[in-house]
């Protein structure tokens, strides 16, 4: 397991540099103008996608096959990706918290943290089982559907507000919907983890 995490760490350093640049731009957009919080959430979604991106690299370079010659179980292989997902979620939360504090937006901190949790956990929870079951190529179709939906919802929320990019619509809802969604995202992530292990054990690569 540790070997897999070390390997994914090297992969992130190697292949995800452009991701760092995009992150800086998105954080900057939020810090300059808080109505751009949608970009911050996009960053959380992107971080949530990182385990699937790593899995896609594994398939492209045939590591998913080669790793099976080592003393690594399929459950460990799956779990490594979910642990990376959790680390990404923590990172997303840290980015959101830092950005809010830089902007002195402490009131929005808890709701935004909850939303960041939802945005980073749900994409991984949906995509990872499909990727482990069918391969990332097929799962990518779902990724596009999900991203389109996320963009649509984001655009709707922003255009629906009369001030500050829709925050007047969002903030009252956050009191109850967002914590509920956050809890649901955590439960979904756990269920997705178990499902991925079950599916990947059955899969012959």
């Amino acid at each position: 397991m540790k070997g897999l995490l070390v390997k994914d760490f090297y992969m992130m350093i190697g292949y995800c540099r452009s991701f760092l640049l995009v992150s800086v731009v998105f954080i900057g957009l939020f810090v300059v103008e808080p109505s751009n919080f949608f970009f911050l959430l996009m960053l959380c979604i992107m971080l949530g996608m990182l385990p699937t991106t790593l899995l896609s690299y594994d398939e492209r370079e045939h590591w998913n096959v080669y790793s099976q010659v080592f003393p690594i179980s399929k459950a460990q292989y799956v779990s490594a990706k979910y642990l990376i997902g959790l680390l990404c979620t923590i990172l997303a939360a840290a980015v959101v918290a830092t950005s809010c504090l830089v902007r002195f937006e402490a009131v929005s901190l808890i709701p935004l943290l909850c939303i960041s949790l939802v945005c980073s956990l749900i994409p991984a929870a949906l995509l990872l089982p499909l990727s482990f079951r069918f391969g990332t190529e097929k799962a990518r179709y779902l990724y596009f559907v999900f991203m389109s939906l996320a963009a649509f919802v984001g655009a709707f929320l922003i255009s629906g507000g009369d001030d500050a990019g829709g925050r007047s619509v969002l903030i009252p809802m956050m009191n109850w919907i967002v914590p509920l969604l956050s809890t649901g995202a955590v439960v979904l992530y756990g269920a997705s983890w178990l499902l991925s292990i079950t599916w990947y054990r059955r899969r012959e690569v």
Binding site: K2, G3, L4, V6, K7, Y10, M11, G14, Y15, Y57, D58, E61, H62, W63, N64, V65, Y66, S67, Q68, V69, F70, P71, I72, S73, E204, V205
Partner: protein, 282 residues
């Protein structure tokens, strides 16, 4: 103890069926698994590694059932597939650190020794390596954790003769220890002939034969004669033949031809080609 025991192993994919396959590889020996492309060599390797699930049969590796605790068994196995699936971004140095976390018995000194021996730069990215260098790194990984059983699946295909010879030399070095064994699949028969004690022929998923290499050479001989002379022999003695305007070259079973008949030696490659053709036309 046997390093590997395969009993009644079967696996079907659509119109291809492997087995029932029975193989035994004693410790201290090297077995060559020979077969054309699609004969079932890689399927056999994947079944041994539990990468795919058998329809029937059992596999014992170093005395343990591979369905029970393959993770622990793999600690004692060095494996190289036809493609070394390391991420292109990684350097041999990084690979070493990953493997040190993956294997309990990883020996960094041995690994670094192989890197030096193969002249593999520690800080060069894997994607910048030639195929030969990639395979050498794969071998270094497979041999640096004190494995007892080595599995090589088409490890020499696509390599130039010099590198292939180095690989063969390494296999021979590895099996000098009594408790070490190796199963090597390849369709480059000449490489296997150099280092194998046992030869197993796979053809369309079926095991045509599995015998000691020396016994195969003792048992079969090459007969060069006319068509008329060949017809005088017992039909079951002729394993296969090749006709040319100058006569016939036939591989025959020495036990079934009259004593005193002049027979030349037969190499494993000729035997494999002839048997494959014979089976293919049957």
């Amino acid at each position: 103890m046997n390093a590997l025991e395969i009993k009644n192993l079967q696996k079907s994919y659509g119109d291809f069926t492997l087995g029932p396959l029975n193989l035994t590889l004693p410790s201290g020996c090297v077995m060559g698994l020979i077969g054309e492309n699609g004969a079932g060599k890689s399927t056999t390797m994947k079944l041994i590694l539990d990468m795919i699930h058998p329809d029937a049969g059992s596999i014992q590796i170093l005395g343990q059932n591979n369905q029970v605790n393959i993770k622990a068994i793999k600690e004692d196995m060095g494996v190289m597939l036809d493609e070394v699936g390391l991420p292109g971004y990684l350097t041999p140095g990084q690979v070493g650190r990953i493997m040190a976390s993956a294997f309990r018995n990883w020996d960094s000194e041995v690994y670094e020794g192989y890197l030096r021996r193969f002249s593999l730069p520690e800080n060069k990215r894997f994607k910048e390596f030639s195929r030969g260098m990639k395979m050498k790194l794969g071998i270094a990984v497979a041999l640096s954790h004190h494995a007892k059983l080595l599995l090589l699946d088409e490890a020499t295909s696509g390599l130039d003769p010099v590198v292939r010879d180095e690989v063969v030399e390494l296999i021979m070095e590895f099996t000098r220890q009594e408790d070490h064994a190796a199963l090597i699949s390849s369709h480059i028969v000449s490489d296997l002939e150099k280092c194998c004690d046992y030869i197993a022929f796979l053809q369309k998923g079926k095991l045509l034969l599995c015998e000691e290499k020396d016994r195969l050479k003792e048992r079969y001989g090459m007969l060069r004669c006319s068509r008329e002379r060949l017809l005088e022999l017992d039909g079951t003695a002729v394993i296969g033949k090749r006709e040319s305007p100058y006569g016939i070259e036939a591989i025959v079973d020495r036990t079934k031809v009259p004593a005193g008949l002049e027979l030349g030696p037969v190499d494993i490659e000729e035997l494999f080609v002839v048997m494959s053709r014979q089976e293919g036309s049957a």
